[in-house]
């Protein structure tokens, strides 16, 4: 059900990737409204994501401005997956020069060791070339890997699948 409080919470943006709303990112799990009382449930992307406190503050702020008494709680399970990034979120990432994640790895049994760079289909978000090179699986935030395009020579970030 789309309520006024839910609409406000859904429009709050991610502090690290402001082209995405918390809903686009899939971290907004629930908005429960009882009169002017609102409980918003969010889930961390990575265990150490330092943006959680800012997300909480932004949610409380925006909802208080609209006259709600808001509280933010954390949900740890199920663990966040990049599969929860919405289609609109993926389009916004691409529009801002970030490469959107492919499907998250499915797992059955022990996690296989991968000694070669992760097999991904990544293309340059600027020029579209598929001739790209992984520079590092770790980027400026926990959720991104660093790539470079061999065609236009620009570096870019890829939101890595988890």
């Amino acid at each position: 059900m789309v309520t006024a409080a839910r609409a406000i919470a859904a429009s709050v943006t991610d502090p690290e990737m402001p082209m995405l709303t918390l809903e686009d990112l899939g971290v907004l799990r629930d908005v429960r409204e009882e009169g002017r009382q609102v409980v918003v449930t969010i889930t961390p992307t990575y265990s150490g994501c330092p943006a959680m406190a800012t997300m909480r503050d932004d949610l409380v702020h925006r909802l208080s401005d609209a006259g709600y008494d808001a509280r933010v709680v954390v949900s740890l399970s199920p663990a966040w997956s990049t599969d929860w990034i919405t289609r609109r979120g993926r389009e916004a990432l691409a529009a801002h020069g970030l490469s959107a994640p492919g499907p998250a790895p499915r797992r059955d049994g022990p996690v296989p060791l991968t000694l070669l760079p992760a097999p991904r289909t990544v293309s340059c978000p600027r020029c579209g070339s598929a001739d790209v090179r992984l520079r590092s699986e770790f980027g400026a935030t926990a959720c991104k890997a660093l790539y470079a395009c061999e065609a236009c020579l620009e570096p870019f970030e890829h939101v890595k699948e988890i």
Binding site: P44, S47, V74, L76, S77, L115, P117, S136
Partner: protein
């Protein structure tokens, strides 16, 4: 038209007032503490003893906390920017896991949390991190020594991540729903850590004569700490009986298979080095540590200890 001159002093006693006002959202990540388990149901499942669960969470939380701090010492010192970022990303993931695990320990048994002066704003997870002595830490000794060179760091990270991934995967079926959820997140993160270290292990082994020489020396240096990971403490034994913990001896073979895979691809023999001895039957899980942990904690804890009433 008379130019309008705004007199700042008339409505502010200091230019900094705007920064220290009532609105903490000025600061990038807020100024107050947050509970990483805010709103999470921390009720104990039937048959789970709170103090045992807390002791067990401290073990896994301390492994992550101590190793996170060690790895963060690479910040600005790594061979290149990409590795600097990678190592600090890994440290951040582990710090996040440590926060959740220490908070879980505190919720399961508030008795484990060091007592601070009345009115101290320091949350339980920070009290556990900054106000315990070395002898109260429950981490394995593998995570304590200084980083050494890049090869030593990669070998230690490979051993640590391989073992932690095996433990965390099994912990996903813990009867404690909080521990199970923390583990499910950790599996996704540590998978990247293990692959990263494995790739560097292979690269260094197959690189130049110098990189291979350093890698082999690193393996000899790190290997004695491998054995302690299979040791089962009394707390772990009880954690297995109560259904929320993992028997480390049960993952030993799986860990060795993965390490063997990396050794074989890299053309490196499994080292023959005796395991670091327990001292009068005590090892890391019992609070027996190397001197390097004390030195690390002295630095890590000094500011918090000087300001037990501090707000950050």
């Amino acid at each position: 038209m008379t130019p309008h001159v705004h007199d700042h002093d008339s409505d502010h006693s200091s230019v900094y007032d705007g920064l220290v006002g009532s609105d903490p959202s000025h600061w990038a990540f807020g100024t107050d503490f947050e509970d990483p388990l805010a709103g999470v149901d921390t009720t104990l499942a039937d048959g789970v003893d709170g103090p045992t669960l807390a002791a067990y969470c401290l073990m896994l939380g301390d492994d992550a906390l101590v190793y996170s701090h060690r790895l963060s010492e690479w910040c600005s010192r790594a061979p290149d920017l990409e590795e600097d970022i990678a190592l600090t990303n890994i440290a951040l993931d582990l710090l996040g896991q440590a926060r959740l695990l220490l908070a879980r320990a505190a919720a399961a048994d508030p008795g484990v949390v060091p007592v601070l002066p009345d009115g101290s704003p320091i949350p339980p997870e920070d009290a556990l991190a900054f106000f315990r002595e070395a002898g109260e830490f429950r981490n394995v000794r593998l995570v304590e020594p200084g980083n050494g060179d890049f090869a030593v760091t990669m070998v230690r990270l490979l051993v640590f991540a391989t073992w932690r991934l095996a433990i965390m995967q099994r912990l996903e079926s813990s009867v404690d729903p909080v521990l199970s959820a923390i583990a499910a997140k950790a599996v996704k993160e540590v998978t990247y850590h293990r692959d990263y270290a494995g790739r560097w292990f292979l690269t260094l082994a197959q690189g130049t004569d110098e990189s291979r020489r350093r890698l082999l020396a690193a393996l000899d240096l790190v290997w004695p700490y491998r054995g302690e990971l299979d040791r089962v403490s009394e707390v772990e034994r009880r954690a297995v009986d109560e259904g929320f913990g993992v028997d480390p001896a049960a993952v030993a073979a799986e860990v060795d298979v993965v390490l063997e895979q990396v050794f074989s691809v890299s053309g490196v023999e499994r080292p023959e080095r005796p395991a670091l001895a327990a001292v009068r039957g005590r090892a890391g899980r019992d609070g027996l540590h190397t001197e390097e942990l004390s030195r690390m904690l002295a630095e890590m804890q000094s500011v918090a200890r000087a300001h037990p009433m501090g707000r950050w």
